[in-house]
Symmetry: C2
Subunit: 430 residues, 2 copies
Amino acid sequence: MSHILIQNGYVITMDGPPIRNGVVLIEDSKITYVGTEVQQAQHIIDAKGCVVMPGLVNVHNHAAMTLFRGYSDDLPLKEWLEEHIWPAEAQLKDEDVYHGTLLACLEMIRSGTTAFADMYFFMDQAARAVEESGMRASLSHGMIELFDKAKGDADLKEGIRFAKKWNNAADGRITTMYGPHAPNTCSKEFLARVTTQARSDNIGMHIHILETKAELLEMKEKYSMCSIHLLDEIGFLDHNVLAAHCVWLSSGDIDILAEKRVNIVHCPVSNMKLASGIAPVPELLNRGANVALGTDGCASNNSLDMFEEMKTAALLHKVNSMDPTALPANQILKMATVNGAKALKIPAGQIKAGALADIIIVDMQRPHLLPNHDLESHLVYAAKGSDVRTTIVNGRVLMEDGVVVSLNQEKVMEQAADSALKLIQRVNEQ
Amino acid sequence: MSHILIQNGYVITMDGPPIRNGVVLIEDSKITYVGTEVQQAQHIIDAKGCVVMPGLVNVHNHAAMTLFRGYSDDLPLKEWLEEHIWPAEAQLKDEDVYHGTLLACLEMIRSGTTAFADMYFFMDQAARAVEESGMRASLSHGMIELFDKAKGDADLKEGIRFAKKWNNAADGRITTMYGPHAPNTCSKEFLARVTTQARSDNIGMHIHILETKAELLEMKEKYSMCSIHLLDEIGFLDHNVLAAHCVWLSSGDIDILAEKRVNIVHCPVSNMKLASGIAPVPELLNRGANVALGTDGCASNNSLDMFEEMKTAALLHKVNSMDPTALPANQILKMATVNGAKALKIPAGQIKAGALADIIIVDMQRPHLLPNHDLESHLVYAAKGSDVRTTIVNGRVLMEDGVVVSLNQEKVMEQAADSALKLIQRVNEQ
């Protein structure tokens, strides 16, 4: 039995008040003790001067898009997608997705993310990367039907094959979802088919909803109703749904999302960078909706650092509501931990006995994190992913004292850079 | 003669196209060669895999406020100022300002800032800290007259004494300005007096302008005109003025600021965190105004990392204008280097022969900075202060390979933490 003891840290449990000089005991994949009593274990981690907290949960990602980081920025959305991202994605090979996802996992482990939700292509390769990295993830094959029945059939078939093959794989670290792309890229019939399949398989669905005003206008034109009402009409919306973005919501939409207990993924950096708009997050939270945070893919961020996402979320909603009390630090921390874990249906996001041992240790004794007036505030407003020293997932140490042990960092970096270079060469040869 | 040679890096000169495998030669305080020819020097820095670029210029700071980092966040502005920040500032001692400014310099050196503008109290102590740290700074004694003539007299006297004592001190690294606080905290007469003094001494002025809507309303109530028009009327505005914030500008105000060549300091993180509003930066730039970037003090940010400020500026204006092409990466880099140096009247902000040797070296071979499609984009959208390896100011290496050599890091951290603790104890005893 593998025991890990973390002691002397400031434990932010997200399950009650913080514990000074706290003791956290991990046995196998779970936390078995949290408190201040002395415990024994083979592997002892001294967290003096550090915060011990639940790992961050990145609930919307297209991990392999790390290969497109910096490939085409500052462009109009249509030109960016049609002339750059789509042509590049058309050249993706399965090995690229493996290398890109490994690079993403490396970046996430280094910056304190322990679990993420991913939607992309060649997902067997993404799953292989997640399995090797030691991370936890909820994976879905992205199904972009584009109103083409044959494409929809093939996509759903692949989605089902992938979901069944990998659900609960890698000691339960990998779970799966169905990934219908968006209400304006999939037909109503296709969305209804996926819903039936998901209910029958008891599998969740990961979808983009109302990321852009263009989607809202298209839906109103086509269906005389917005995406939320259409999805509600076909019975799509429930607590097994992960809805990314949700920027262009009406007040009625917010009520529906809250009532149906849909999990909403706020992606502030991506929404700002692509000029998509500002999601009504304070209103969603006020009405009881579960709102978590996601980075989106690297092409539209260009970082997978959840610390940055936390700070940006807090800042954006303060200025947008002209209220400096909006989204305070403790609420932001909850979104990045508790709410994210809830969205992925994993018993994590808190440091408590019985929870999964998905834990990070953040070094607070750095010049930009002094003085120690308020460590919760520092985590949101001053800390960076690079302040994470140790990352533990499922009771296994993936990074200790800044050294990633689950992956060969040099090799992952080299192979991803090489994949990206060759990919762009193929694009340029077209 | 002290020679430093930086070779094998990707040199972003901000004075023309980047140079691959570039060579930068530093002699004493200046850059004497930039190109690709082999050069000789005693001290050779290998920048393989790194970007070599001008140091970042943080044009609005209250450096010693590092002591208040995390002290009181997420509060309404009035409560924050009146019940927390001002009572704490009332307990500040001169040694606190020394320790707080040293901590700020340490954080800035580590995150790639080479020069900053500061306005605060006990400025002899701030100057002492800057002198020891090796940084470059433009310092001003903050003069908050509050419509009290005696206070105004005393403040101006101290402002003049400080400015004359320290201007061009520390081998020219320290310059000084007059620091009238804001148009709504100083009388028109006082602002006119400072203007006369500044013109006569050929010294610039550092001021907050229209940070909040409250200032705009107060000014309109009191003078039937806004701050910009009042300052213009008394002849305050010219190219020697550093105007922080400038959030609540009319179109006419923008014309005046551009025409008078006022240097505007955009502080997006602070403006978002305090819910002050969004400055019309794209409009200012379009009309030819010089706009630089600043972090503001740590109480309202809570970081001095200019990389974060760059990314936040780009993101904020994209979403605010609903235009993903707004403030592209190269424009943001110019704001943080060229425009900042111009605002501080220092011949820096570019890597070219004759410029001051204020240079940083950023390690791009990190997981979150791969692949290398576009290094300018990475600097704005993916890099962090923690990616800076080496910081050079005035031809002197202040940090090399992540180790600060101009300051005793442990001692600075310990003394600042101790100062902050005792300061808050004094506040709590009141």
